[in-house]
Amino acid sequence: MIKLLNVSKVYPRTGSALEGVHLEVPKGQFVFLTGHSGSGKSTTLRLIHMAERPSSGEVLVDGFSSRRTPKREIWKVRRRVGFVFQDFRLLPGRTAMENVAFALEVTDTPRAEIRPRAQRLLSKMGLSAKAGSPVHQLSGGEQQRVTIARALASEPLILLADEPTGNLDDRATRGILDLFWQINALGMVVIMATHDLELIRSYPGARMLELDQGRLVFDSHTSGGGS
């Protein structure tokens, strides 16, 4: 499903962010991506989302190559890859329903289907009662659920989450993780970047990848050990 073939990323100002990362993630896998700040977690996610292109090497996402996919077709990759941020990135002043509906509107969903689908997504996130609430009135955990609903709007095959629980308390964090597991159980790849090792340890079934200074230094699947 996802392949990073000897991928390096160098930024003109800050220098090397990733160095020779080689990685394959098959369909249906749950992956924790960990490492210190600046280790390359976010860069890896952005490369998979094709928000960036590697400086060398190749990224393959469901058959789309970072080398061969033209800029005008990146949207096809984006619809296969949902993205969740630590700071939610919701549209302020709009309701939970409007935020999810917006993602459906701009991705060619027939008009008649938008509201029912947004409603279904929010209800899966346990937010039926909050659909009409402006997002700034929701708690952090609730806002992150709206973000997840939005990320799932295009029925992606992959869900990327960049420190999605960084701003949440323990209870909300558990709630979000449980949601990710449910989503993963439906066959979707989930890759979650986090530096919370405690959290990773409580989900031993997941694959753990550790980055350090742009290099992949640990892979629980090849090291034969758990987390």
């Binding site: 984006r78 619809r79 949902g82 549209l91 993602a103 701009v106 991705t107 939005r150 709007a153």
Partner: protein, 285 residues
């Protein structure tokens, strides 16, 4: 396309103050151009008014025969740039002198002979009132043997021609400078409006919207903002025109076609500025 119009409308609804301010800035920028157009148009009218008086007058000898004169009139009418050739007889010249100068009317009874010569007055087509045309016609008419003298105010025509050329160059430079300033202001106003909606562009890119779908609402919004600015500029220019007309001096209102072009320019500038501003964000993410 329906989504583009809905989104453009929602953009106006969500940020009416910002949209209003953008349209106001666009309007002020276009007003500068509108006022310039008003001044340039009236200067052009004034120059044209003076130009209409450009003519060559050939004074004829008393011995000139009607057949010769008629033949000369026909051949002069065939010259390039000539609009009309009119013959004034000695009697007509005296009548005109009496009308224009009351003193002549008083002494005309005492005159034994009519001292005024017959003449040919040659007028030029617009666009041919140049030094070259006038000199060519003056040379042609002076070739006739029955022509005693030819007058056209050589220096005056040359100065007029120079004035018109300077006017055209000044209009181009000033108009160009105003247009550049207006473009910069419109560009900035629209960029601010697009900047305010960068979060939406970010989300659209994030979830996989096509570039065209992202761009379209902004194009429509930019075009409408530009058009609103154009309408405002027309109103402000009209107000200034009315004030000048009533309190300072009479002047002409600019032609409808200029206003149409102005509104179209506002609309196109708005759409283009918006498209450029969005393109910046489309490069990111």
């Amino acid at each position: 396309m329906a989504h583009a119009f809905r989104e453009a409308a929602s953009g106006f609804r969500r940020a009416p103050l910002l949209t209003g301010l953008s349209a106001f800035m666009v309007g002020l920028a276009l007003t500068v151009l509108g006022l310039f157009a008003l001044v340039a148009f009236n200067l052009r009218l004034a120059v044209e008014d003076i130009e209409e008086r450009v003519e060559v007058v050939a004074y004829l000898r008393d011995s000139a025969r009607p057949v010769e004169i008629e033949s000369a009139v026909q051949s002069l009418r065939g010259l390039p740039g000539v609009e009309d050739v009119r013959f004034f007889s000695k009697a007509q010249a005296l009548e005109r002198a009496k009308e224009e100068l009351p003193e002549i009317a008083e002494i005309s009874g005492d005159l034994e002979v009519n001292p005024f010569p017959a003449s040919l007055e040659i007028r030029f087509l617009p666009g041919s009132r140049t030094t070259e045309s006038v000199e060519a016609v003056a040379a042609a008419v002076s070739d006739f043997s029955f022509v005693e003298d030819v007058r056209y105010g050589r220096e005056w025509v040359e100065r007029l021609f120079l004035l018109r050329r300077m006017g055209a160059i000044t209009s181009m430079i000033l108009g160009g400078a105003f247009a550049v300033v207006a473009t910069l202001i419109i560009g900035t106003a629209i960029r601010i409006a697009v900047f305010a909606r960068r979060d939406e562009i970010f989300i659209m890119r994030l979830v996989g919207a096509r570039d065209g779908l992202i761009r379209r609402p902004f194009l429509i919004e930019g075009a409408i903002t530009g058009l609103m600015g154009g309408v405002l500029a027309t109103l402000l220019t009209w107000g200034t025109y009315q004030a000048v007309y009533h309190f300072l001096f009479e002047l002409e209102w600019i032609p409808q076609s200029w206003i149409g072009i102005g509104l179209l320019v506002g609309l196109i500038f708005g759409a283009m500025a918006s498209s450029l501003a969005v393109r910046r964000y489309l490069r990111e993410v």
